[in-house]
């Protein structure tokens, strides 16, 4: 089929509290984290976990498992920071494991990014045309362009 429909954003706000600073928050809670390099997961763990059928309360159809990677920290940010004060955006930490830390920043995107996803098929719909939807429009990203540096675990 040469035409695929791309539906606009349908607001389905997240019920979960969003721990990110205000500027990174979106109605759906989705955000973007860009880093140089990749996150390597212990493969046997990921495989083993994918077999586990857990009762996930958020998406009952797919059992999910979370592997802790590290911690995110906004050292210069506090919820009391004035909205027009952007100095805190210059410094964000991403701890990976215990002993590595990446320093990054919050960056405004030159062009906003739309997150596009395949639309969940309605069970009673008989058409098999693929449909896409814009789930979120994102204007800021977390960007870690530096290598990780070793840190003391204290």
């Amino acid at each position: 089929m040469p035409t695929i429909t791309l539906h606009p954003r349908v607001s389905s706000p997240t019920s979960l509290p969003n721990p990110l600073p205000q500027v990174l928050q979106t109605p759906t809670g989705l955000a973007i984290l860009e880093l140089q390099g990749t996150i390597n997961l212990p493969s046997e763990e990921a495989e083993a976990r994918s077999m586990v059928s857990a009762n996930d309360i958020h998406d009952p159809s797919i059992p999910t498992f979370e592997t802790p990677v590290g911690r995110l920290m906004f050292p210069d940010y506090s919820p009391q920071t004035a909205p027009d004060d952007t100095k805190w955006m210059k410094r964000v930490y991403l701890y990976v494991g215990r002993y590595q830390r990446m320093t990054g920043e919050v960056k405004k995107l030159v062009q906003p990014l739309a997150l596009v996803q395949r639309r969940q098929k309605e069970t009673n719909s008989d058409s098999d045309d693929e449909e896409l939807e814009v789930v979120e429009v994102i204007k800021y990203k977390l960007f870690f362009k530096n290598r990780p540096e070793p840190v003391n675990d204290s």
Binding site: P68, P75, L113, Q117
Partner: protein
């Protein structure tokens, strides 16, 4: 440690991961998508058959366009060397690995009540581009629609709008641009194609000769029935004036309507409405009549016609009061050329771009340049362009 005052957010990786695409939004599209009532967009590409028959032409290689109701963007996938993760807040009811690997043994330091988790990774983004020449449905429709050059029986027993919409589904530009292209070509639904799925086969685009015939009868009919083409008129009256008393239709009514739409003031979405009242756009009409005449009578350099002969014929095809408006400047730029100082001929759309780029349209010259191994010959055209 300064970081102790700031709270830490646990960062995890969710498996299985989800599939996402990142689409870069130009400002106008971002505004559109974040507006109160964002429109539904479409991703359009040529059908596999269409792209197969045209694979030799690099211009029509496989591609996907993103279309808003009125605009078209070309999608280009750009790989990123960075990994882009999509993250979202996570609740407490999730099965999670040992968090001790990320923090100290001492739990007080780590306020890990809150969690962000990576649910997808993207290695590329989709960029949107608008080529400087823009998008038009006319060249695509010109390619896919069969030509109507002689009387064919029409059989209007189907919903025309529906047929047209199905044709547009295979034309990779926005709806508004499809409609404009359809009107530009005076395309119409003939509707005698049987019950196959080939909707394109039910439609026609008239040849220049046919368009000219239709227009001539329209003008004659208007004169006979005293319809003033300068003012608003009832399309049904005009159609009656075209029909000979009791005689058969000289051409399908849908073709007649296609020509009327071409010369009238067009509004968005008008294509799917019944024509009732119409008023002719004088500038549009004059230009179209001149170009159609030229295309019908002088389609190539060798068949060029005299300039004054052309101007007179052009005047004769217009309502009496418009005769003085005729001038070469009324024609679209690059739509004509002068093979020699006293003659004029038509330049087809595909060749206009070349003229603009100052590339020779003479096929023998390009093939000669391709055959030669002389670099001066090979790059002559490009050099000229730069200057």
């Amino acid at each position: 440690m300064s970081t102790q005052t700031a709270s830490s957010i646990l960062f995890t990786h969710t498996s299985p991961q989800q599939g996402f695409k990142l689409l870069e939004l130009p400002p106008d599209l971002a505004d559109l998508l974040t507006s109160k009532e964002p429109p539904t967009l479409e991703l359009k590409s040529l059908t596999p058959q269409q792209s197969m028959t045209t694979t030799t032409d690099p211009e029509y290689r496989e591609y996907v366009n993103l279309c808003t109701p009125t605009k078209t963007y070309l999608i280009r996938q750009v790989q990123s060397s960075n990994s882009i993760h999509i993250i979202r807040p996570s609740g407490s009811g999730v099965q999670r690995g040992d968090i001790n690997i990320v923090g100290g043994d001492d739990d007080d330091e780590l306020d890990l009540v809150q969690t962000m988790t990576a649910i997808a990774k993207c290695g590329s983004t989709l960029e949107l581009h608008t080529p400087p020449e823009g998008f038009s449905a006319a060249p695509i429709l010109e390619r896919i629609l069969p030509v109507y050059d002689e009387m064919e029986g029409a059989e209007q027993n189907m919903e025309q709008g529906d047929v047209i919409r199905r044709v547009f589904a295979d034309v990779p530009v926005s709806r508004a641009q499809c409609e404009a292209g359809w009107i530009e070509l005076c395309a119409f639904v003939l509707g005698c194609g049987g019950h196959g799925k080939d909707v394109v086969g039910w439609c026609r685009r008239p040849s220049a000769r046919v368009k000219l015939d239709v227009w001539r009868r329209v003008v004659e009919g208007a004169v006979l029935q005293g319809i003033d083409l300068d003012r608003q008129f009832l399309v049904q009256d005009l159609w009656r004036s075209v029909l000979d008393e009791g005689a058969e239709e000289p051409f399908p009514k849908a073709l007649f309507e296609g020509v009327v739409r071409r010369v009238c003031e067009v509004g968005d979405g008008q294509l799917f409405e019944d024509l009732k009242w119409a008023s002719i756009d004088k500038t549009r009409c004059t230009q179209w009549v001149g170009e159609t005449y030229l295309e019908a009578k002088a389609p190539a350099t060798v068949s060029g016609i005299g300039r004054s002969e052309f101007l007179n014929a052009w005047k004769d095809l217009l309502p009496e009061s418009w005769r003085d408006d005729v001038a070469f400047s009324k024609l679209t730029e690059n739509s004509y050329k002068h093979p020699n100082p006293s003659t004029i001929c038509f330049v087809f759309r595909a060749d206009r771009q070349k003229i603009k780029k100052n590339v020779s349209t003479d096929p023998s010259a390009t093939t000669a340049a391709k055959k030669t191994r002389n670099w001066h010959e090979l790059f002559k055209n490009q050099k000229r362009q730069k200057r």
